[in-house]
């Protein structure tokens, strides 16, 4: 039988605020346990939550970018369950009326086509703390630093039909939240977490199959692998006459399998009800209008502009707009050297290779955009060749001075003195009579030999165009 795969994703994006969603405690990652938890985060008696308005603004930003309905009034609810790292015995979340309603995101598939993925909702909530099961000799440690950290839970429609589509959606979302500056997107630190709802149904069937929810899939690669494993598992179960039970499954990256975490029967009755400590969250038209003015250019807009304004192909435009920092870097390069295509090649080639090799962020690049622009400018004005530029690049990376200083110091300036090049060319022709004869006899491939010899003699500094023209002339 042919099976159709149905996937929906729930993403928890940690909002990049300085303080928590309902208290003034700091949200910075990696502090000593329980040093960033105040009385409110600890769920002490009598304390009360107060909404951090910044989180609301970030949620609205996301809603606007996702073409979504922004609720004029949304409600915080309590999700009640007992767990040691949940200090109040309930999580403050949004249930019946989330701040962001229905919307959509367009994703680009591998074949270049565009697919629209529905956003069901996005709501604000607080994170729980962490239970630490190691290092306590059979006991459990509780770290409440993370308790109260603001999250935006973004729920998609079950619109994806393969793990590749799921990853494409997740990457689009990841790019978007970083563009909006509402989430740092750090998946290792858990700032951007994903759960996947996966089901299958016979091709052509319109009713949804029973789904399982996959957890612990916190990298793009794991999302793809976990979903693929789960699809295979479900097909096998059904084709062997079994049924899928609705459950939460944990992905085990070590052996690439998923296993039951809890069944539907074991699921909590969360007893949601509106939190009486918090008023309904009112969002005025004025606030939305104000936030609209702070919206950055979105990835899709930027991509379109890069193709139009810089004449980039869609692949290059896509890569260069994949993060705001990278796009900003690229545009800063083109400001210094008005050579968009050459700049794209350099940024995507040498620069990204070096950045990735050293595991750096583009903002941490030892070569600033201005310097790379100057380098490209020197290629463009024939001071150096593209090949020599790679040498300059290495020196630049080592922080050995400005582009011009390095060219000067290392004596890398391109020889553009026609007389000097001619002298060298004459010498080479004279010293290689055999090759000259062969060339004249029709072995045209030997042209490259002469170019190579000349470059060697000039240590690569001869202007390639001039050299070419001269050689062609002399070898006639």
């Amino acid at each position: 039988m042919k099976w159709e795969v149905v996937i929906g994703l729930e993403v928890h994006a940690q909002l990049a605020t300085q303080s928590k969603i309902f208290s003034g405690a700091a949200t910075a990652y990696g502090a000593m346990p329980n040093t960033q938890a105040c009385a409110i985060d600890l769920g002490m008696p009598g304390v009360l939550p107060v909404l951090n308005e910044e989180t609301l603004h970030m949620a609205i930003k996301f809603g606007l970018a996702a073409n979504a309905h922004i609720a004029p009034e949304s409600i915080f609810a309590r999700k009640n369950y007992f767990y040691p790292d949940l200090p109040k015995g309930y999580q403050i979340s949004q249930y019946e009326i989330p701040v962001v309603g229905k919307g959509y995101l367009d994703i680009i598939l591998e074949d270049g086509s565009v697919k629209r993925i529905g956003i069901t909702r996005a709501h604000l909530e607080e994170d729980a703390g962490k239970s630490l099961h190691e290092d306590f000799r059979g006991m459990t440690g509780i770290d409440l630093n993370r308790a109260g950290t603001p999250l935006l839970e973004i729920v998609s429609e079950p619109d994806m039909r393969s793990s590749t589509e799921a990853v494409a959606y997740l990457k689009t979302l990841h790019t978007l939240v970083r563009y909006l500056g509402i989430c740092d997107g750090n998946m290792q630190e858990g700032s951007f977490r994903c759960d996947a709802n996966v089901s299958i149904r016979p091709m052509g069937e319109t009713k949804l199959g029973t789904r399982t929810e996959l957890k612990n899939i916190n990298s793009f690669r794991f999302v793809e692998k976990a979903i693929n494993y789960e699809i295979e598992r479900q097909i096998e179960v059904i084709e062997n006459g079994g049924t899928i039970s609705q459950e939460t499954r944990l992905y085990d990256a070590d052996n690439n399998t998923t296993r039951t975490m809890r069944s539907k029967e074991e699921a909590n009755d969360y007893r949601y009800f509106p939190d009486p400590d918090l008023l309904p969250v009112a969002v005025s038209e004025e606030l939305i209008a104000k936030i609209k003015t702070t919206m950055p250019e979105l990835p899709q807009e930027k991509r379109d502009r890069f193709t139009k304004a810089y004449g980039l192909n869609s692949y290059d435009a896509n890569v260069l707009s994949s993060s705001r920092d990278l796009a900003d870097y690229y545009e800063a390069v083109t400001k210094v050297a008005n050579e968009p295509k050459l700049a794209a090649n350099w940024v995507m080639g040498e620069l990204l290779a070096a950045i990735n090799k050293e595991n750096l962020n583009i903002t941490e690049s030892p070569i600033k955009a201005e310097a790379l622009g100057q380098l490209i400018q020197r290629i463009h004005d024939n001071t150096i060749s593209g090949k020599i530029a790679k040498t300059v690049f290495v020196h630049l990376w080592q922080n050995e001075g400005s582009v011009d200083e390095i060219i000067e110091k290392q004596g890398l300036k391109q020889v553009t003195d026609l007389g000097a090049i001619e002298k060298i060319v004459d010498e080479i022709i004279n010293n290689n009579p055999q090759q000259l004869a062969d060339y004249k006899a029709g072995k045209e491939k030997l042209f490259a030999f002469f170019v190579g010899q000349a470059m060697k003699a000039t240590q690569g500094k001869a202007n390639p165009q001039q050299l070419n023209d001269l050689l062609k002339d002399k070898l006639k």
């Binding site: 009385a39 009598g46 009360l48 309590r78």
Partner: protein, 483 residues
């Protein structure tokens, strides 16, 4: 000296007839003398004397405010930094908050001297003060009777003149009902008028702090300090605080007072009925006009209250799990055992009953039938009042159906106990202010009546109560043990 009011002590302090330290010492003696009433959970002798000394220093420097050096007590539901806050529960017997409730800060900043923390029903759940881990409180008018609850310790202490004033909280009548049983003045302000920050939550959408005093004048003085917006409480009202003493002497000429005839029928003790009738005559003499009104959905009040209050309490009390503070069961076998034994060993039976009711009404499959229905009923009750306030300025109602009942009389019958709040509960559901003042006696026991006003009408309520107290003496009567 015990018949003085807070306003009297203000004058005596201002004229330096007495020092803050002398006042504090006197009342600390009163507390020791009447320890058998069990109205206090914690006595803060050293802290109080230090505060009083500081108050005297301020006065000597000419920096005293109107409340500098005035002694009082907090209900043990308000968190006090460095001093135990138990909420009368075994669960919090070892709990010392590292922060002050907002009103604790406000009253301390005003220079007031806190003498101790008063007894109450556990987590403010109860109408008799029999549900305290620290034992029951006795009514100073009759030691065999309850003082009412949940603010029973505050009411008994003020009535017995052990202290001149105290704070209380009112979720369904917990200020007004004990005030009525003990013959004092108790004001439950508009929901949100006083910050709830640091006040241990029972039912967040109903809880409201207020002053418990001998007179309406004293209540106005305290409300001036307690009221106000608090950025730490999202539900506190961001509206200016008037001077609540400013309109106390306004004439009652033409004030329209609503009466709900059905409130005065069966179920109301005849002595209370008579006391209120006499009071009506007094109010008419003062110029007030009585208008009959109806609250058609009032019958829904008690069941609605027990759904909403219990639902909220089941969630509010989930934090007491033995993990971070408070009572923790010994040698738990596992996490579930830790939760179950910590909670079952440390909560009293009334608290457990309400947690179970609340958990039930919020459960999947019951939520719509109970919680949603109750919210709808709550809206109807609130609308009833809004309709009534089209025709009247305030509503006059009994505070309780009966005078104080005997200790243990109702403790085995929760429904009977719940019915003793029949006149007070709807007010909380509508978020309205109401004040209880003494209006007579049933035998040797005081009885009270309450005025209910529209949102933020505290000034009007205090004005009416004060005018009534200017021409009557019920509020001046003190129990024999205080004399």
């Amino acid at each position: 000296m015990t018949h003085y009011t807070l306003a009297d002590y203000q004058q005596q302090l201002a004229s330096k007839d007495i020092s803050s330290v002398e006042l504090a010492q006197f009342f600390l003696q009163q507390m020791a003398k009447h320890a058998h009433l069990n109205s206090f959970i914690t006595v803060c002798e050293q802290e109080a004397l230090l505060q009083a000394k500081h108050a005297d220093e301020l006065r000597a420097q000419g920096k005293a405010g109107p409340l500098t050096g005035i002694p009082f007590a907090h209900k043990d539901i308000f968190c006090t930094k460095g001093i135990k806050t138990s909420c009368a529960s075994k669960m919090l017997d070892n709990f010392i908050a590292p922060y002050n409730a907002t009103i604790v800060d406000k009253m301390a900043s005003a220079g007031m001297v806190m003498l101790g923390k008063t007894n109450m029903d556990e987590f403010a759940m109860g109408s008799s003060n029999e549900n305290s881990f620290y034992g029951k409180v006795h009514n100073p008018w009759d030691l065999n009777c309850v003082p009412g609850g949940s603010s029973g310790g505050s009411a008994a202490a003020v009535a017995a003149r052990i202290i001149p004033a105290a704070t209380g909280t009112d979720t369904g009548g917990s200020i007004r009902q004990p005030a009525a049983f003990c013959g004092i003045t108790g004001l439950k302000p508009t929901y949100g008028r006083i910050s709830r920050y640091g006040m241990i939550a029972f039912a967040s959408s109903l809880d409201q702090a207020g002053p418990m005093t001998q007179t309406a004048f004293d209540a106005a003085i305290l409300l001036n300090v307690m009221a106000g917006f608090d950025p730490k409480d999202s539900t506190s009202l961001d509206t200016p605080v008037p001077d609540y003493t400013a309109n106390l002497n306004d004439s009652l000429k033409g004030v329209r007072i609503g009466i709900i005839p059905s409130f005065f029928g069966q179920g109301l003790h005849p002595d209370i009925n008579e006391a209120i009738n006499k009071s009506k005559t007094v109010l008419e003499q003062l110029g007030a006009v009585f208008v009959e009104i109806d609250l058609p959905h009032h019958d829904l009040a008690i069941p609605t209250y027990y759904v909403i209050a219990s639902a909220e309490c089941s969630s509010n009390l989930a934090r007491y799990d033995g993990v971070r503070y408070g009572y923790r069961a010994k040698n738990p076998e596992n996490l579930l055992d830790l939760y179950q034994r910590s909670r079952s060993e440390a909560f009293g039976s009334e608290v457990k009953r309400r947690i179970m009711i609340g958990t039930y009404v919020l459960s999947s499959g019951y939520y719509d039938a109970y919680y949603i229905k109750a919210q709808q009923a709550r809206r109807l009750l609130a609308e009833d009042y809004q309709n009534a306030f089209k025709y009247v300025d305030v509503i006059l109602s009994p505070t309780t159906p009966d005078p104080a009942f005997k200790i243990a009389e109702k403790s085995d019958d929760p429904v009977k106990m719940y019915l003793s709040d029949i006149y007070t509960i709807a007010v909380n559901m509508a978020g309205l202010p109401a004040i209880n003042i003494p209006c007579g006696f049933s035998g040797h026991l005081p009885v009270g009546m309450q005025f209910i006003g529209n949102h933020l009408s505290e000034s009007k309520l205090l004005n009416i109560a004060h005018q009534f107290q200017q021409v009557t003496s019920h509020h001046q009567k003190a129990p024999e043990i205080s004399l």
